[in-house]
């Protein structure tokens, strides 16, 4: 039992830190945060990562991955998240973490050649078409239809919560190609060019006031049948096998550690009754409740990673990562709102009464509410644990 890094691992960590220090400038971060320069600047960042060979650490080396050990990937993710380079709402997630592995695992050679390089170079942005209006956590109830007519699938229906669809070049979709059997059957995995006629992207304004989500409609959208991944009607299997693929990092530990550190700093400068809020015992108790939970979560993640490094299947403890990860992230956002006090309500980036952090605090809080809903609500997560782990 030992949690120290090897000397080689420490060298690697320094290498990552050096990269960050050099390339992750305030100027770049600001341009990414600004809606008007977001896509261009984010692409710039991703190209820098790709130049370094770090765009897709988890991919097999033959497709451009790194071949890192589990520990190195952990170090990489930790450092990147700690610095704020990677975040939970990263646009590269859809290409690198979601569709990429489907393509290299279930796609044919032409598909691999056609799509993987452009994911790495960020010349093509992806978005995800899984959820549908009304489907919620019952993903398999999807109704968007794809009918084969000659060389093309004709797609009709709508997808919802398509994050960044308004920036995306491609969308990967689960579509229904057969409705005769169980709902999990008859689903196919299609790659669709967003420029195809008949696709309409309708913005959904979030409760944070921003536009990151969309509803994407498909009206007789003709998709070449070579864009089908694997076999027709087997898409559910491909999508599902992917859900376990990235579940090692769903806890967002580093992001929450970053959030906690910021919170402590803010509490030192916010004034309450003649002393900094950070010195107030009530506040200390509230924040330490969460800090302790986060310390536990961090080691739960390490336990999972250590098992993975030893080539073992993730144990029961991995099931709590998303659940507790989202609860802790939300709790931190909640306290940060309280620290901002009156200023947390301000819906205005410029008029901030000297509390410039407040607007971002509000956005993070509001946007963060969804973390206990997407990817299966926390209630669904508990159902799954009850069944899979406790044996009910």
């Amino acid at each position: 039992m030992d949690t120290t890094f090897t000397p080689e691992e420490r060298v690697f960590r320094d290498e990552v830190r050096t990269w960050i220090k050099r390339y992750w400038t305030e100027e770049l971060a600001n341009r990414i945060a600004d809606k008007s320069t977001f896509k261009e600047a984010q692409t710039e960042l991703q190209k820098l990562l790709n130049d370094q060979g770090w765009m897709a650490p988890g991919w097999p080396e033959e497709y451009g991955g790194t071949g890192w050990s589990v520990t190195r990937r952990y170090i990489y993710n930790t450092e990147m998240a700690r610095a704020g380079v990677l975040g939970p709402a990263d646009p590269m997630v859809f290409g690198v973490s979601m569709v990429g592995p489907v393509i290299y695992t279930y796609g044919n050679e032409e598909q691999k050649k056609r799509f993987l390089p452009k994911i790495l170079t960020s010349d093509e942005w992806w978005c995800q078409g899984y959820s549908e209006p009304g489907s919620g956590s019952d993903l398999a109830s999807l109704k968007t239809k794809a009918e084969l007519e000659g060389d093309h699938y004709v797609v009709n229906g709508a997808k919802i919560w398509t994050t960044y669809a308004h920036y995306a070049d491609w969308i990967f979709c689960l579509v229904r190609t057969d409705s005769s059997g169980r709902k999990q059957e008859g689903i196919s995995f299609l790659l669709i060019d967003m420029k195809t006629p008949g696709i309409k992207v309708n913005p959904i304004i979030g409760i944070d006031g921003r536009h990151t989500l969309n509803e994407t409609e498909f009206n007789n959208v003709r998709v070449p049948k070579e864009n089908l991944i694997g076999e027709q009607d087997k898409g559910w299997t491909y999508a599902k096998s992917l859900l376990t693929h990235e579940r090692l990092y769903v806890a967002n530990v580093s992001q929450s550690k970053r959030s906690l550190a910021e919170l402590k700093k803010l509490a030192e400068r916010e004034w309450a009754g003649g002393q900094p809020l950070a010195a107030d015992p009530y506040f200390q108790q509230r924040i330490s409740d969460i800090e302790i939970d986060l310390m536990a979560l961090e080691f739960t993640e390490l336990r999972v990673l250590s098992a993975a490094a030893a080539g073992k299947e993730p144990g029961a403890e991995s099931s709590v990562l998303k659940l507790r990860g989202s609860e802790i992230a939300k709790a931190l956002q909640d306290i940060k709102m309280d620290v901002a006090g009156y200023y947390a309500g301000i819906d205005d980036a410029d008029n901030n009464a000297n509390h410039s952090f407040a607007n971002k605090t509000r956005i993070d809080f509001m946007y963060g509410r969804a973390s206990s809903v997407y990817g299966g609500t926390n209630e669904i997560q508990k159902n799954i644990i009850a069944k899979a782990v406790l044996g009910f």
Partner: protein, 378 residues
Amino acid sequence: MDFSFSEEQSMLKDSVTRFVQDNYDFESRRTLAASDAGFSTEHWQTFAELGWLSIPFSEGFGGFGGGVVDSMVVMEELGKGLVLEPYLATVLLFGGLLQKSGNQVVQDAYIGSIIEGSLQGAFAFVERDSRFVLNAVRTRAEKSDGSYWINGEKTVVINGASADKIVVSARTSGNTHDEGGISLFVIDSKEAGVKISSYRMMDGQVVANISLDQVSVSTDHMLGEEGEALEVMQEVINDAMIAVSAEALGAMEKALQITVDYTKIREQFGVAIGSFQVLQHRMVDMFTAVQETRSLLYRAACSLEAGSDEAIKDLYALKVKVGRAGKLVGEEAMQLHGGMGMTDELDVGHYAKRLRMINTLFGDADFCQQRFAQLSYR
């Protein structure tokens, strides 16, 4: 022991309920919230016609002579519709200060106009670093040449953008955290040296930062005795705490109702999601929180009206519960709506936002719990 409303209060309640039902469907509210003023002057005239603007004022000024229970009745119903009109700022805060100040000059000058709906007011009591402490006042007023000259800055002034007249707290003596030495002045929003910079809050309210640069106020526009204003400020804010708690209660009730209705209809896995026991129990927890809020609201309102020794403790207990229950109900309502709850287009998230803002208003749950503890364990 009686928790029923008087006949007058019941009528008042019904009239507000009807107004909200007829005028405040979610789409109409959205349009109003997006307008420049952030509320409807037409609605405001309706408020005047229905007599709501006269409630806290003495009959001598043409008022209704109402107490905290009366404004509580109004505010609960306004809360159900997330009503945007500045009833709190103009009538309860600005009006309340005038009513309690004993300054006949300003009472005669402005109360009539409030009642007829032609004057908007505000109370500027927050500063950059004051947080929830009323006596954390840096803004200063100095007397010279028969006037007071005010310098300083106030932040997040509710209704600050629309107010014609603004009551400003300023220090006429002492240091930032002293309890004595604070005075109140009624200034005109167009007075030279007043700079109003307005912006929106997440609940749709339009508020303002107000900077005051050598703003002149005549001595007859000071409320009460020089340096003795903290008590009247606290009194008015105590009454306002009942009011916003009632508003929060209305908002919670509505958020719960919306959620119960939604989960009965929304299907997943082939059944209404409301059939899941876990979700039912969470709505029971929301219901319990709402009941507790109502109980503490009645407790604080009765003891404040009766002038009980326990009134302040009751009030802080109420505000703690309003903060915690408001968070619980607001967030659970969103969560139980799933992804839809996190969109701007559904009403439920807006209830959560307003509840969050009310938690902060006049001191959040943590702050009020500390005050409560000081009274309970001294």
